[in-house]
Amino acid sequence: EAGVTQFPSHSVIEKGQTVTLRCDPISGHDNLYWYRRVMGKEIKFLLHFVKESKQDESGMPNNRFLAERTGGTYSTLKVQPAELEDSGVYFCASSQVGQNTEAFFGQGTRLTVV
């Protein structure tokens, strides 16, 4: 069974450009989460989808970040325009709905804004 897959694994862009990160969750997982780790700091929650609906986006830093989950399958996280402080590793995780379910994480996308 395929795990959570994230594309690209690395991205280097200039300040002011747009970048779109993609996450393919495990098939059948209705919960999808985005997290971010800024260098050397803790991994922080960004938002949570249940199917195609945003359940909680309290962790989104500002309106330059836009997350979508079309059809409740894969998700994209767009940063437009990117700023230097957006650099970090963006993780995606998915889980089944229900109690005591484990969240499975992707390998992350390392974003560098120069």
Partner: protein, 115 residues
């Protein structure tokens, strides 16, 4: 607000030595507790989790962790470290109820294993 503290940023041990990684949490209710590991180029992998019951939990790769409510701690241990254990380790807490697993992570502990 919930928080997780991993006081050791970097730990170095010799192969075969024992290991203990510290984790303290602050949470308003009884939490779910997790340890994840990230090896180079890999995603976060769940080592073990505590929901309820026996406070000593066993995980994969020979790791175990003990939940101590009085100390708000969930330290990770391994009796004999292998070179392949070199990685970054994250402690995390999450809500006890519901399926929404919004996790709060610590800042991680980088483990180096000497031959």
């Amino acid at each position: 607000a919930q928080s997780v503290t991993q006081p050791d940023i970097h730990i170095t041990v010799s192969e075969g030595a024992s290991l203990e990684l510290r984790c303290n949490y602050s949470y308003g209710a009884t939490p779910y507790l997790f340890w994840y590991v990230q090896s180079p180029g890999q995603g976060l992998q769940l080592l073990l989790k505590y929901f309820s019951g026996d406070t000593l939990v066993q995980g994969i790769k020979g790791f175990e962790a003990e939940f101590k409510r009085s100390q708000s701690s969930f330290n990770l241990r391994k009796p004999s470290v292998h070179w392949s254990d070199a990685a970054e380790y994250f402690c995390a807490v999450g809500p006890l109820s519901g399926s929404a697993r919004q996790l709060t992570f610590g800042s991680g502990t980088q483990l180096t294993v000497l031959p």
